[in-house]
Amino acid sequence: MVTDVQVVDRLRARDAQAFCSLIERLQQPVTGYLHRLVGDREAALDLAQDTFLQVYKEIVKTSSELALDAWVYRIATNYGLRYLNRRHLRQFVGLEEREPFDTNLMAAGLEEQAETRILVQQALSMMKPKDAAFLQLHYGDGFTYEEIGQIFDMGSEAVRKRVARGVEKFRATYGKGPIRTRQG
């Protein structure tokens, strides 16, 4: 069995096979996380690609004790939040229209649950991107508070309070306003 330290060492040595395995293992969850975070499939694919390219470039600067998955998610989160901030800025200055939520996210699953999912995504999209990222990581990707703490470089207690605050904000916006969708 290959340990995390060994994987990191091989990645730092520019082992193509190790890097290929990393991409194979993480590309689906990372792309899914970014898709839910930014609400745009194509943008999420581009951001995921940028994330892995950044991993390749920066892995040599890390140490063997690196928490690899958390580190990859941290890079992905930074890319996602930067993308959202730029999009909000463009929308604020009027260069871009505010887009309805991507219904591709609701394509799978039961039809009767689709409306609930749209409402959830709308509520999350109205929150601050970082608060939404905490909920996405915990509820969407199943990360524990401790793992989220590794991603954001925070303690478990701080993450606990941050997730609770995010849930309170989510409750305040959930189900408010009409459903707006976009066929993608």
Partner: protein, 290 residues
């Protein structure tokens, strides 16, 4: 009231856990006092309701976020292509950086060369100007050079004798100021030994009874001339017989007078050259010893 009823009442009345702890409790996150929270929630209606609300929200969130799974195209080939492109771009960047660095060095070298040539030309022009000014005795340029540093012994003809002659001074001394003070001109024609004026002294004296003998010695007179010694008294004068000056310009004469009749002044007058004379005023008087 049983023992169990008492502890339940205590749990109901105890401090309610923070909302974040309740959420962590229902999300099964690690908690230090999970058992206590569990017992509290079981007996506290308010916290129980809060937990139910969190369960409902969590269920919605999980349903919307976790249970929907998409399939995304494989990124491996795209990522590796990006890496190759990145490496290629980095290589190109390095080459470009190296090229720009060498260009910069070449430009800097040329700039230094231009500056050096300019300095040499400037220096050459300056030297030529100075040489031309010196050769044509350009006063406007010469006037900038301090006087004490010029190696000349000729004062300006316009200033004549009022300009002091150049002096050799040490570098610690302040140079003399050019003040118009009349100073005798040092010339070879005016400084011979013949300019030493004739002089006269009492070269011997003696007392005999009530009279004093005085011997007069003269020097620097014209050899061969006749010199007359004249004794001046308050009311009259008396000349002694003329004596001849020897080859060394020296003569001697003497006289004896009563101690109360000593002359006040003694003159020695050259009979051939009237301008050459000597006067003696410091004459011992009376018969007391000198």
């Amino acid at each position: 009231m049983t023992r169990d009823d008492g502890s339940a009442a205590k749990l109901r009345q105890s401090r309610h856990p923070d909302k974040s702890i309740l959420l962590a409790y229902i999300r099964r996150q690690p908690l230090d006092d999970r058992l206590y929270i569990q017992q509290h929630v079981e007996h506290c209606e308010r916290c129980s309701q809060q937990c139910d609300e969190y369960k409902r929200l969590s269920s919605s969130l999980e349903d919307a976020l976790m249970q929907v799974r998409h399939f995304y195209p494989h990124l491996t080939s795209y990522v590796f292509f990006s890496i190759e492109e990145h490496s290629y771009e980095s290589g190109k960047l390095r080459v470009a950086q190296r090229q720009s660095l060498s260009d910069y060095r070449a430009k800097r070298k040329m700039a230094r060369l231009r500056i050096a040539i300019s300095l040499v030309l400037l220096f050459a022009i300056l030297l030529t100007t100075v040489a031309y000014a010196i050769s044509t005795n350009h006063t406007s340029l010469i006037s900038y050079i301090p006087h004490h540093s010029i190696a000349t012994t000729q004062p300006s003809p316009n200033l004549g004798n009022l300009v002091p002659p150049p002096q050799v001074t040490s570098k610690h001394k302040r140079p003399s100021k050019h003040i118009a003070v009349p100073t005798p001109v040092v010339s070879m024609a005016s400084t011979p030994a013949s300019t030493v004026r004739p002089s006269m002294v009492i070269c011997d004296t003696s007392i005999t009874g009530t009279s004093r003998y005085l011997k007069i010695c003269g020097d620097h007179f014209t050899p061969g001339d006749k010199v007359t010694v004249v004794l001046e008294y308050p009311k009259n004068s008396q000349s002694l017989a003329p004596v001849t000056v020897d080859g060394k310009g020296h003569f001697e004469d003497g006289f004896s007078r009563a101690c109360g009749d000593i002359p006040i002044v003694i003159h020695a007058i050259d009979q051939s050259h009237k301008t050459e004379s000597a006067t003696l005023t410091d004459i011992p008087r009376g018969c007391s010893s000198i």
